[in-house]
Subunit: 560 residues, 2 copies
């Protein structure tokens, strides 16, 4: 089996990027882009050889492949989620699934295929998705009578069922969720986790008797999405509502959480919770007899109020982009498949086999202690690798905490700890008595978790710049910020802002963000938390060519 | 919204069946086939109106839709898994997932699309699946350069990754699993759960250094599959190996568990675990340096030994067909979403509001007690429905145990229980002291579980007939049995047996099995547990036109 040299990997990645920019459909590298055991014996080769600040695209590719989150695949825009990233998804899933069960949401499964007829039932919806729907047209060697769509989202798959199931107000609320795969055959530059043609997500779909009940749920779900990002992934987000331009096709309004990638200064949509209003219930004829009208002796049918809400594997990508560093992945403890790696050190050639066995036994004892308090822990006894090599290997994989244990530690009855989230070696190190491990390590992991969040939050806060003068708009974006500006909420005006803030040429100070097209800033959201409690009456819209007054502070940014 | 009358539902189902027989692609009914609240106020309409023995197909359709397991969908061969069936799948999933984790199998996710190139890499494999692969040929309005297959199974999606990841014998074993959806665009008559164009499953894929290690795992997995059926779904199975004719395309051999549907006397494949040998590792070039050769100073590459194994949502269908009765579903306690339903009874118009509140409080107390010992319990306080109507409703849904509680029970400090699995009303009933509930109910549920299994096992045992005379072969099949016969294991001979046992006309005594084509018996498996410890030397093959001697007792049957 031939090995790919690291140099080759780099070439492949770059050429992929270039190609995909040119023809709009990246041919992902099918040839072994992974690290191999044979190569990594030279420790220098195992690490990341490009700085995050210098070339985020290249850095990201190296981090996700060498860190074993993603492996490339020979269908463009599709990626393999390796066990360590899938484990993060499972952790997110079990947390969120438990939350929605408290609202009596039930899981179900609807087919991956949608008939053209249903897909096209809601006009705005189909217009929003038509360009990126994958169609199955052949079964075996036979052409299908009617092609079927691979679901890009399941509103139109599920709502005929809602129409059948909801016959009386007593059938409300109806709350379903599914954990599944969806396909959006995009021709934009793909990016693992962030924009792929297939991704995993949950999609919740609910129907309510009243608009209030629906609205309340929309916000409850959004809060939990924010919790997934902030409390599990240690990624700060801003909660708000999308402008009309950016809302979900077919929704009344879309609430959203918006993240931020400091390395490029670009915003990123993190998850959305949509109030669909009665758009779909009208198209799919989902009605009940109004119980209030009935009480008053009248018979009146009302259309139900619907929501849909989704959280995707994109979240893992945002986590990686936020926390990763020059040594590779940095995974927050709460979602890490492995939280602690224990490595025996100080094993010398002079050591007797008995002494070594004794040491390993103690290492195992440490691991067992941690397991007993529900820490996800592994040990690394691999022969033929130096401790230093192992340190690098587990750092690359982002394991939050390393415990080293050698004869000297044994003498002192302690272990040496090393936190992955702190770059400075000395500051990252600590010592803990073996007897205290069961209490100290869980605490330390929680400390890592909150420190990671606070660091990321500071970066977001520092780069979310409030301004009112158009002249500052583009320079501030170019300084890797997103901006909070007064805006009229007009759809055309928003388009104008986008056009005006597009970079006209390279060399404007953000040339290092090579993968970003010369993009303008779009609105990310209208944050719920408005500066100064809301826009002051009479404030002008930021767009110098707009004569309207601002309705709110809107977060604008270049974005993913 | 228009209601579908039950009469219509029946018509739709029948016409679907007829249509699909004719043109081979069932148009499933998109028009409200579900029961509706409006209708079920007349209790007579809610139940199943055809006997399982009289028309299994029609009975099954009614049971799965009225029992809210399945809802129909407007893409032929695709079905909606409603929350109560999906919950069963989640229970199976969490049990089996924990088992495979003890073998250090890790979950991952591979793309739903497979390139034609990879799909066709293993000749026998692609021949086995080519006729039923769904192809995506369009993205939006653009024709794809190269169509991509929707995975019918993921060997060919995963093994290029195996080739990259496995570089040294230290990378072995590699054990991955995924819980996902797969598509087989079959043109045979579809049947919800049993044969659908999309289904959910887990597919495990592993690579080993030695054939022994691979073989051991194949059998371990099969044992767990048998446990899923027998211990969770209360469905008896026979373990064995498939004949060459029936093995997985591309496998060395396929081990299988085979179930039985007494109502039709047909066998049904329940789950399979394949030893792939080196077929795929040769095609995908998955090799390691032989560590033994290396020790001996030689350099020799060996192809890895691979397995794949899958368990699907078909299991839920087998469970329904096995246990369901004239009143609807009967769900085994261990997998039921709701194990116990508590219903207040004896609430009369004369009752004071206080007395009613007092009663309901006690009902809630019973439910809370049961929850505290991890019983999945619900209460039914619905107004406007009689207890009798509620009994029918929950029986239809197959809830394993009903608890009734009324003023008289309260006086005696007891509850009345009613087991779903026993048909005779009096025999199904029991009484339990309220104070004993936390101990008695879990025990009773376990009793129901084992009684359900034993009953089903007896039915299977009674209808698995050992015979050596060809003259008995077809009549025994016609008597709704599967047969255990001496066979030469020859592929052609097996085809002959199949052809000879096909029914040539209706009216041969099994006319009630309307949905079964006039099918011959195929080999279900060569059971591991051979009668009399194996075939006696010199025993003739059952096929009168075969001159070979039998190699083993083979289980033959008409099948799904």
């Amino acid at each position: 089996m031939a090995d790919a040299a690291d140099g080759k990997l780099k070439d492949l990645s770059i050429s992929e990027t270039k190609k995909s920019k040119k023809d709009g459909a990246a041919k992902t590298a099918a040839k072994k882009p992974q690290q191999t055991k044979k190569k990594i014996e030279g420790a220098a080769l195992i690490g990341i050889d490009v700085a995050k600040e210098d070339d985020l695209g290249e850095w990201y590719q190296q981090v996700i492949t060498k860190g074993q989150m993603i492996s490339y695949y020979d269908v463009a825009g599709c990626y393999i989620l390796e066990p360590s990233s899938y484990a993060i998804w499972e952790n997110i899933k079990s947390w969120f699934d438990a939350k929605i069960k408290t609202l009596k949401v039930r899981n179900a499964y609807f087919p991956v295929f949608i008939s053209q007829d249903n897909l096209e039932r809601e006009k705005e919806h189909v217009e929003g998705f038509a360009a990126e729907v994958a169609w199955v047209t052949m079964g075996g060697k036979s052409k299908l009578d009617k092609p079927v769509a691979v679901r890009p989202t399941s509103e139109t798959a599920m709502y005929p069922y809602f129409a059948r199931k909801i016959q009386s107000h007593r059938d409300l609320p109806l709350k379903l969720n599914q954990w599944n795969n969806v396909v959006r055959w995009e021709f934009k530059h793909p990016m693992p986790f962030i924009r792929s043609r297939e991704f995993l997500w949950q999609e919740g779909h609910t129907a309510h008797l009243t608009q209030e009940a629906a609205s309340e749920e929309v916000r409850q779900i959004l809060t939990w999405y924010a919790d997934v990002y902030q409390d599990l992934l240690a990624v700060p987000v801003v909660q708000g509502v999308k402008t009309v331009n950016e809302k979900f096709p077919g929704a009344d309004y879309t609430t959203t959480i918006e993240g931020f990638i400091p390395a490029t200064g670009r915003g990123i949509q993190a998850a959305t919770s949509h109030a669909l209003g009665q758009h779909f219930s009208k198209m799919f004829n989902i009605t009940v007899e109004d119980p209030n009208a009935k009480e008053a002796g009248k018979s009146e049918h009302v259309h139900v109020w619907q929501n849909s809400w989704g959280l995707t594997t994109r979240s893992i990508g945002v986590m990686i982009l936020t926390h990763g560093d020059r040594r590779g992945l940095v995974i927050p403890p709460r979602v890490a498949e492995i939280q602690v790696i224990v490595i025996p050190v100080g094993v010398t050639a002079k050591m007797t086999p008995e002494a070594k066995e004794e040491l390993y036994k103690k290492v195992q004892g440490i691991a067992d202690d941690l397991k007993s308090v529900d820490i996800r822990v592994e040990t690394d006894y691999r022969e033929g690798y130096s401790p230093g090599w192992k340190f690098n290997d587990w750092e690359l994989k982002g394991i939050p905490l390393r415990i080293e244990f050698g004869p000297k530690d044994a003498e002192k009855g302690q272990v040496t700890t090393s936190r992955r989230d702190i770059d400075d070696k000395d500051q990252a190190r600590g010592e803990t008595k073996v007897d205290d491990l069961k209490e100290a390590i869980p605490k330390l992991l929680e400390q890592i978790q909150s420190d990671m969040f606070n660091k990321a939050k500071k970066a977001y806060d520092d780069h979310r710049v409030q301004l009112t003068n158009w002249d500052d708009f583009v320079p501030t974006l170019n300084g890797k910020n997103v901006v909070l500006v007064p805006h009229c909420e007009g759809e055309k005006c928003e388009d104008e802002v986008k056009a005006k803030s597009a970079r006209t040429a390279l060399g404007d100070g953000v040339a290092e963000d090579k993968q970003a097209p010369a993009m303008g800033a779009k609105s990310l959201c209208i944050p719920f938390d408005q500066p100064d409690g809301g826009i002051k009456e009479g404030t002008k819209c930021i767009n110098p060519d707009c004569t309207a007054v601002a309705k709110s502070w809107i977060l604008f940014g270049r974005s993913y």
